[in-house]
């Protein structure tokens, strides 16, 4: 049973560019949440998707957007990258009607130069 997979694992961008990160949830899961983890910090909630709609959103600007596909996979897009966007981006999947446990991927490490 495949767990949560994320791609790419590492990437380098320059300021002003745009990036797309991808996530495949654990088999059977229907909900995807995205978190940003800056170096030395805890994960910060970006948003959550269920049934292809954004259900909840954290305190992140509109430069951060997402999408969920019919197969439950998800993308995180960040436009107009800033140096401060450098972080580990974690995808977590779960069941909406479940125990609430989040299953995390290993993350995508984004470096903005």
């Amino acid at each position: 049973d495949a767990g949560v997979t994320q791609s790419p694992t590492h990437l380098i961008k320059t300021r002003g560019q745009q990036v797309t990160l991808r996530c495949s949830p654990k088999s059977g899961h229907d909900t995807v949440s995205w978190y940003q983890q800056a170096l030395g910090q805890g994960p910060q909630f970006i948003f959550q998707y269920y049934e292809e709609e954004e259900r909840q959103r954290g305190n992140f600007p509109d430069r951060f957007s997402g999408h969920q596909f019919p197969n439950y996979s998800s993308e995180l897009n960040v436009n107009a990258l800033l140096l401060g966007d450098s972080a580990l981006y974690l995808c977590a999947s779960s069941l909406l009607q479940g125990t609430g446990e989040l299953f995390f991927g290993e993350g995508s490490r984004l470096t903005v130069l």
């Binding site: 805890g42 479940g98 609430g100």
Partner: protein
């Protein structure tokens, strides 16, 4: 406001010694509490969770945690640590609605655990 506080940024313990990592939360509703562990360069793995019932919960890898509502705490403990326990530990809180809590989960800033040989 919802928040999680882990007051210890870094803790070093000797291998074989006992461990307690502190976590305090602020949450308006009935909380759903978690402890996650993150090894370097890895994602987060769930150690244990609590939402109701016995306030002492057992998790994987020999960890346990005790929920104390009066103190708004959910401290993680292990009787005897192993070198492989060196990692970052995160306490987290989310809403418990009774049947589903797949919702916004808030994490603390983490405690880095080092093991002294």
């Amino acid at each position: 406001a919802q928040s999680v506080t882990q007051p210890d940024i870094h803790i070093t313990v000797s291998e074989g010694a006992s461990l307690e990592l502190r976590c305090n939360y602020s949450y308006g509703a009935t909380p759903y509490l978690f402890w996650y562990v993150q090894s370097p360069g890895q994602g987060l793995q769930l150690l244990l969770k609590y939402f109701s019932g016995d306030t002492l919960v057992q998790g994987i890898k020999g960890f346990e945690a005790e929920f104390k509502r009066s103190q708004s705490s959910f401290n993680l403990r292990k009787p005897s640590v192993h070198w492989s326990d060196a990692a970052e530990y995160f306490c987290a809180v989310g809403p418990w609605t009774g049947y589903s809590s797949a919702s916004k989960i808030i994490f603390g800033s983490g405690t880095r655990l080092s093991i002294r040989p």
